[in-house]
Amino acid sequence: MRRFLRAVVKVLSSLRLAFATFVLLLVLVFIGTWQQQYESLFDVQGKYFSSWYFTLPIYGVPLLFPGGTLLLGLLAVNLLVGGIVRMRFRWKNAGVLVIHLGIVFLLTGSLVEYLLSDKGYMVLREGQTGRTFQSHQEWEISIAGGDPAHGRELVIPDTRFSAAQGGRTRRLVSDALPFDLVVEGYARNSEPKPADRAGEGEDGFVLEWKGDSIKAEANVPGCFVTMVPKQGAGPKVRALLWGEQRFPWAVRVGEETWQIDLRRRTFLAPFAVRLEKFVRRLHPGTQMAAEFSSYVTKIDGGTTSQAHVTMNAPLRDQGVIMFQEGWGPQDPRDRSLPWSQFAVVRNPSDQWPKYACIVIGLGMLIHFLIRLVKHLDTEAARAAAKAKEATA
């Protein structure tokens, strides 16, 4: 058993493994970049960089490749095990040790962001207050019922029902609901249109698949859902849901009306933001913005505070970061009220890279000082030896 473990450690810490992983990562980056000609950035990230493996047809033959998650995971294990195996825990290596701890902290921050962060955008007109932000590419079904003022919703991300196509269905269930919701006919990018023949589609409308867009954020999904009451209370009711529908589908179950919506993944921020003023300066004679920023009021419970949000100076609070991302209307003929678009990220490890850099810097300083002292000692000893020779 010990020999086996020793062999495993030897492989996991080997430089050959590190080299092989780097080479495969290089190939992966090339493949991912090449494929962006045909697929959106969001899809490429999911399919190649966030996966354990993928298949790529080469001259019609599907070849299996390791994905980014597998390779980076392997590299992380290799660095960790190799560091532990090769590290010489002596005081003169203290700086190096601290540097490595900083790097580990940095990489851990990236992992935390990957696993736990929410990203999206928020658009506000001047005078408008918002508290939610939405994903550019991800969608969800939301089910809200009961008291309209209550604000409780059940949400199901699209990753859990997007396979409901080609004859497959997904039955969404919850003890909190008096019905199940069966999803079918999901199309990632679609548009409703009036049915050509009676009985086709639902309520006179069918869903037409438009082909996935090269820009993932341009896809608008649609699907059919059937509300199946529990305990046989009432008939089943079927409806077409579409991502750009004007309002949710309202369905009555017993004495209660439920609002079922297909929308971009929506997240709740811990505070509300009101856009007081959007300011913009254009390059002379053009419609290209030289600079633009937003003056906002942050409302958290009963407390308000003012903030000036720019592209490089975001609003940060309670793990949420809001950057100035865009603005409109950009057509000079459009005289609508100006609006400001913010990129919003909820990232628990937002400040970890900064702390990691501080730790790494500290480690480098420690290592420098240790080497400096050693160098001075060596020089002093050399000078003393020379002096002794001279007098001898």
Partner: protein
């Protein structure tokens, strides 16, 4: 197993199942399990719950599927100044989008569409808009001279440019990629809006639908007041929720809805000639050989927004500030058709249909309100040319008389 059975057990029970059969049965079971996982229904437990979510979207009472999917305007969304049009057979309506009054799928091809779009405020110029379409078709921009050479047509009763392009269609933001695409479009500028009708997509389908497109574009008109939606086509809708959805719908008073309910007759003055009839106009005359001046007689049902709105529409066209009702009431009157018309005499600048701004231009016009309609007589052109043609304008107005009933 055989040893565990009693001696009286049937021989079949005592016989062992052949190993090959067991393997086949095991594989069959595994396949069945695998197949069961591939198709059919899968249950998903809902685990995400959110509290305190703002409820800014709920279905209005009585809303239908068509309302929800945007195929019919709700009463509070129907804007004033809606457009009507005749939809050619076989054109499939598309859901409305921000700034898009109407959209149709052609030839069953998801990449070939015809759209009718309005943008508030005239301006930007025809050249910029034509070059915007050219960019969508991966073509180099053109200059003013090439723009002036483009063929003309009529859209909403106004001169419009007819654009024919062939190239690779990439859309506004690079979201499309159609090789061998064609684009046929018409665009015109009104005082309050610019109107664009565009057919783009598969070259063969565009060619096949060209005549239908021209008929559709020429049929675009102001909807009758209160009608709310087009004859033969899907009803217009307001903008969808959210600030990214585009501008509010502008009103476009006085921009034509059909011929006068009481026809008039007239005499073409000496030195003038009548130009070919266009829809929305009763008559167009101009000095013989003139290309920069015309006198237009038109009529629209009702008050078309009222006197103040119509005067200000002309003021907008000439780049002048709007005026209040008191200033309009103080405008001089002229005798016309047995009654009194309001005389508008403006000097400013306007953008002609080639997209060229004419400085020092003049507009001389008469607004004559009747019980059933409003008549407009308008002369526009460079200042000196308008002054030179003023006598002819006066003679034309003096010759107007109601058409005798037949």
């Amino acid at each position: 197993m055989r040893a565990m059975l009693p001696a009286s057990a049937p021989a079949s029970l005592a016989s062992p199942v052949p190993a090959a059969s067991r393997r086949i049965a095991l594989v069959a079971c595994l396949c069945a399990v695998a197949l069961a996982g591939c198709g059919g229904e899968k249950t998903v437990e809902i685990t995400d719950k959110r509290e305190d979510m703002p409820r800014d979207r709920t279905a209005p009472p009585g809303a239908t599927t068509a309302d929800r999917l945007g195929f019919r305007a709700t009463a509070e969304e129907t804007p004033r100044g809606d457009l009507a049009y005749d939809v050619p057979a076989g054109w499939e309506p598309l859901p409305p989008k921000p700034m898009r009054k109407a959209g149709f799928r052609l030839g069953g091809d998801p990449q070939t569409e015809c759209t009718l779009i309005t943008l508030p405020q005239a301006g930007g110029g025809m050249l910029a808009n034509v070059n915007r379409w050219r960019k969508q078709m991966s073509l180099e921009p053109i200059d003013e001279a090439a723009l002036a050479a483009l063929p003309k047509d009529t859209l909403l009763g106004r001169p419009a440019l007819l654009v024919d392009l062939e190239g690779r269609y990439v859309g506004m933001g690079g979201e499309a990629d159609v090789s061998g695409a064609k684009l046929v479009g018409m665009l015109t500028e009104l005082p309050a809006v610019s109107v664009f009708v565009k057919m783009v997509g598969n070259g063969k389908i565009v060619d096949a639908e060209r005549e239908h497109f021209l008929a559709f574009a020429r049929s675009v008109r102001m909807a009758a007041a209160g009608a709310g939606h087009a004859a033969g086509g899907p009803p217009p809708v307001g903008p969808s929720a959210g600030p990214s959805s585009g501008p509010d719908r502008p009103a476009a008073p006085g921009t034509g809805a059909g011929p006068a309910s009481v026809p008039v007759r007239f005499t073409v003055p000496e030195g003038f000639e009548q130009r070919p009839d266009r829809s929305m106009r009763l008559a167009t005359i101009a000095p013989k050989g003139a290309t920069d001046l015309e006198i237009v007689l038109s009529s629209f049902p009702g008050d078309v927004g009222g006197l103040v709105a119509n005067v200000n529409r002309w003021r907008d066209q000439m780049g002048l500030d709007r005026v209040e009702a008191a200033a309009v009431a103080a405008l001089p009157r002229r005798k016309m058709l047995g009654g009194e018309a309001v005389l508008v005499d403006l000097t400013g600048h306007y953008t002609d249909m080639q997209g060229k701004t004419v400085e020092g231009a003049k507009l001389v016009g008469l607004v004559f309100e009747r019980a059933e309609d409003t008549l407009f007589v308008k002369m526009t052109g460079p200042g000196p040319a308008v002054e030179a043609a003023r006598a002819g304008f006066d003679a034309f107005v003096a010759s107007l008389a109601p058409e005798a009933p037949k």
